[in-house]
Amino acid sequence: MEVARFWRTRHQRYQLMGEVCPHCGTKIFPPRDVCPACEGEAKTPFVFSGRGEVYSFSTIHSAPAGFEKYVPYTVALVRLEEGPLVTAQLTDVDEKDVYIGMPVEMVTRVLREDGERGMIVYGYKFRPRLTQPAPEPQHAAEAAAAA
């Protein structure tokens, strides 16, 4: 595990912080300091909304080292609202419920651990976008009855 490498990328991993091009306004993720659209220098930090939709996905049953405990898990290409396409794990979802175009949102989760003694790597994953459901008036009454 390269501690320095993960430390350098903590802003993009925790906050989904990329860049915005000061010349043409293109939003860039991951940050690369050069605009892929106009090739101008682009170092202005930009925090993405975290909202996007599934562009494509695949479920992993045979995981690379460090991810074995999570199988089966789904990885996706997520098209962010602001434009870039990001590869990330999906979480809080069952494989059968994933579809192309599914609205998702970024959450910060454990990506992997370097064994029992090593560091814990946190970073972005995406889950189905949560929305405020209609209130369930009977729920409180039910809880009261059970108590």
């Binding site: 906050q15 999570y70 794990q89 809080d92 989760r109 814990i120 994953k125 009261a144």
Partner: protein, 354 residues
């Protein structure tokens, strides 16, 4: 006077909750370990996913608190947080602060205090007491306090029926810009060893029935009674009362002993649905109450931490909470995926892998 008040009035400008989506129907614990002969003290409990811990749950609760604070208080930004304090008994690292991870995720670094607090189930309210002083003294304008736990209970132990998970986050700031003013608070502690966990141990130990009368009931009742007496208030002055909730019975009983009705306690009583979120327990109850409270209403909050102590707070609602930008606590509770005991054991890391 035991009552504590800051010179500069302090309030809650934003709050947020998080409850993971998995639920164990706790009758399963009884089936596995006692042949179904034990009646579970709660119906179900929240279980964190494989990629969740106190840092990740704290981050989501804190993001919800930030979204509300940004709507309530024009001058608030995460960069203005002078403290990011996380109270828990299941910090991911023994040495390395959870607070820096949360602060970095919120964009609150680098000019902030970041620290982890520990006092069993009252670690979060303990941080809240300190934050009142931190903001109330003018040392900083805003402070974030979090109570969060991925609660531990040894398989088959009484705690396994209730040990839940969740996080509650509060941003404290000037009362004049707040949703809720903190009118006063009391801390009441004694050296009462009712529950503990030694270094390197995975699961806590407890003193059985001793956790009730001399620990939970004595400390909460003392803190709450002193708070009400010294503020000249009675239970009738409060719309809601929220107590630490290790099971359904204890908060209802301590509330009744103090003179509160079930109607005052029920809106903040979540334990039957999410279990005991330890340092997040009473504070999650408070978030559920803040979701529905109206201007002018008073809320009594009294936590309990084993070891032992209680922090009691008198809160007065200044304005209703914004309804957009962050999910209500009830919405997180409604988002539930039941798991069986075998799946739960995997999520909790209780299988030995070679």
């Amino acid at each position: 006077m035991a009552l504590m008040k800051s010179e500069r009035p302090v309030g809650i400008v934003g709050y947020g909750a998080y409850v993971p989506r998995y639920r164990l129907i706790t009758q399963e614990v009884s089936e596995i370990w006692t042949g179904g002969n034990t009646v579970s003290p709660v119906r179900e409990k929240a279980v964190p996913g494989l990629d969740e811990d106190v840092a990740t749950m704290s981050i989501e609760a804190a993001r919800n608190a930030v979204r509300r604070a940004e709507q309530v208080c024009a001058s608030f930004t995460p960069q203005r947080l002078g403290a990011v304090w996380v109270g828990s008994e299941s910090h991911p690292y023994a040495v390395k602060p959870t607070g820096t991870i949360v602060a970095e995720a919120l964009g609150a670094t680098p000019y902030t205090q970041a620290a982890d607090w520990q006092f069993a189930c009252k670690a979060g309210t303990e941080a809240m007491q300190a934050a009142i002083g931190f903001v109330g003294s003018g040392m900083t304008s805003f402070a974030l306090v979090i109570g969060a736990d991925s609660a531990q209970g040894r398989p088959g132990d009484a705690l396994e029926y209730t040990a839940g998970a969740g996080a509650a986050a509060f941003i404290l700031g000037p009362a004049e810009e707040a949703l809720v003013e903190i009118e006063g608070s009391v801390s009441y502690v004694t050296d009462t060893p009712d529950f503990w966990r030694r270094p390197h141990e995975r699961f806590p130990e407890h003193a059985g029935r001793f956790t009730g009368e001399p620990a939970y009931f004595h400390h909460i009742a003392s803190a709450a009674q002193t708070l009400m007496r010294e503020m000249g208030l009675t239970p009738q002055d409060f719309a809601f009362a929220v107590f630490h909730q290790p099971n359904v019975k204890f908060p209802l009983k301590v509330g009744a002993d103090l003179g509160f009705t079930r109607a005052q306690i029920q809106p903040g009583l979540l334990v039957n649905e999410i279990g005991n979120a330890y340092a997040g327990s009473a504070l999650l109850g408070l978030t559920a109450v803040l979701d529905i409270s109206q201007p002018g209403q008073r809320i009594l909050l009294a936590s309990f931490g084993s070891g032992a102590g209680s922090d009691a707070f008198c809160l007065r609602v200044r304005r209703s909470a914004p309804q957009s930008g962050a999910l209500t606590t009830r919405a997180y509770i409604q988002r539930r995926v039941p798991v069986n005991y075998a799946q739960y054991s995997r999520l909790k890391g209780n299988y030995v892998m070679h």
